[in-house]
Symmetry: C2
Subunit: 329 residues, 2 copies
């Protein structure tokens, strides 16, 4: 099934069920008010949402309405936890090679992950607000999964069954703020502001063969200002599956219902596939030409992120955002 949230009803939005074609929807009223509430009682709520989805697919649901993506919040407008990985080692290796460093051997066995902000996610069509272009504004197109409750100490095999929803995230990054922040040693804070999520999240069964080994086996398509930017394969070169990433997080604590786990920016060994973030593209240029030529995002620039199935149908809907200048009140 496919789930989304309307921008109405409060800070967590209003849960709706969306049809496969992303054209029709129905409020989940009487089943669960919000996606967070559904995830907190997933084993009971999911079958009832699925029944609603089947009714919607069959055209048998009263109160269905045409889906307007501009009216959508992110499926989780906020969450209690977002832990983001950096699971595509070609990205890590390339960035390090550009500065003459090696990838530590441990990176192939121990996932690189960080604690990200989750107190608010931009809607899929919300602007990216920044006070200055000098911040080095960048997209990062990633796959993200959502869990129900996961016990501390789970194995990857156990964690795989706790992946309840899959979607996309634009992990907005402020590249110019990253070096000084990472040099302090405690990770990202100002340099990773709010991210945007895809219009809908879907269950594993909705992906069919494209969901295998706790990875999404489809290309991540990105455009900047309408120009093709990349179609890196999300199922290729992902060193750690989502099940492994979840088990990594759960080593020393439980993982709560509604937690988002991100893959990291999608990157393949094969650079002909393009990139999923400008930092990657600029690194490829630096290795090839000695310096980067593609600039970071400027005010007015448009970003589009989408994954389609083998027949070209959008699975999650597209994230489409414009970069805008922010001025404090």
């Amino acid at each position: 099934m496919k789930l989304a949230s309307l921008k109405e009803g409060g800070r967590d939005g209003t849960l709706i069920v969306v049809n496969r074609d992303l054209t029709r929807a129905v409020r989940a009223s009487g089943v669960a008010p919000t996606l967070q509430a559904a995830l907190e009682d997933w084993s009971n709520i999911a079958p009832r949402l699925n029944a609603l989805y089947e009714g919607l697919q069959a055209g048998k649901v009263a109160d269905a309405f045409d889906l307007d993506i501009d009216r959508l919040a992110s499926p989780l407008p906020r969450a209690y936890e977002f832990v983001d990985g950096s699971a595509y080692l070609p990205h890590v290796a390339r960035v390090r090679r550009a500065r003459g460093a090696e990838v530590p051997e441990s990176f192939y066995t121990d996932p690189l992950m960080y604690q990200a902000t989750s107190s608010g996610f931009l809607a899929p069509r919300d602007p990216i607000l920044a006070a200055s272009e000098d911040w080095g504004i960048d997209l990062e197109a990633e796959v993200v999964v959502v869990t129900d409750d996961v016990a501390m100490g789970v194995t990857p095999a156990q964690a795989a069954d706790h992946i309840q929803l899959i979607g996309l995230v634009n992990d907005v990054s402020l590249r110019a703020l990253i070096p000084a922040e990472l040099a302090k040693g405690f990770g990202f804070l100002q340099s990773k502001p709010r991210s945007a999520l895809s219009p809908v999240f879907v269950t594993r069964d909705e992906l069919g063969d494209a969901w295998r080994d706790s990875k999404l086996h489809l290309p991540m398509r990105t455009w900047i200002n309408g120009q093709w930017f990349g179609e890196a394969e999300a199922g290729v070169d992902m060193q750690f599956s989502f099940a492994e990433l979840i088990a990594h997080v759960a080593k020393s604590r439980p993982v709560s219902a509604g937690t988002l786990v991100g893959s990291g920016t999608i990157a393949n060994e094969d650079t002909a596939k393009g990139a999923s973030c400008l930092a990657e593209q600029r690194t490829v240029e630096t290795l090839r030409d000695g310096k980067p030529t593609t600039p970071f995002l400027r005010f007015g620039d448009r970003v589009r992120i989408e994954v389609t199935d083998k027949d070209g149908h959008s699975i999650f809907g597209a994230i489409e955002q414009v970069v805008e200048r922010y001025s404090p009140a």
Copy 2:
């Protein structure tokens, strides 16, 4: 006023108002179901909670009951964001001196902060669960503040008025997991599991003169297994006020209602005040004797963290936790 949450009514607990002596309480039913809900509409809800508090103080509230701290969850049993600082530079300087390094000049002007987990806070009397003593289990006694909604780009002066509640946090740290995690460059994840909050959070006015310049001017008292461990002054050697820490976080994004901002482990230049974490104590020993002698926490060890007013009355109630072995199901 003083606020707390009962372990009842769901994942966010049930909001109660507690009297100044921490002996009596009343449910905030009809005003706000949870502390999170109160913070989301603080300007309307706070006066009504305060009226309930005044009634409770005057002994004029029906349905008041004796406070039993064992029945309390953390005031926020979970939150959408927890950003923790490291604002006491004597701690930073000492740790670096022990390994022969300098404190970068920028640390005196640019706050060191990190994104922490907020999806679950241990209750003030919950055990600290760890799979192994080899993880190097440590306490960190800190002051924490809670904000209402804060706009992106606020100044420290503006941020000061958004500090709505003050409390304590035991920022549990797994020292043996920290070096490898920080070496990867993206900050803490496994090494900073769930923290515990103090039984009650209080408003600024409740602290009188002890709240000045967006800092708490009282000693942080800690005990391990009933033995005095420290009474470092929270108002001394705090390089950045909470207002400055909030403004730092808000540089590139809004800060949402119910966000927790931590001070970092309290540490003074004056080592006679003792320590607020074992890592600090061990660093002092290393600088003095060449090696640490105090071990990290072991299963069965008890930690106590409390702040009292000038008359010796507990302000926030005490965090009291026992370390226990965790075995996955």
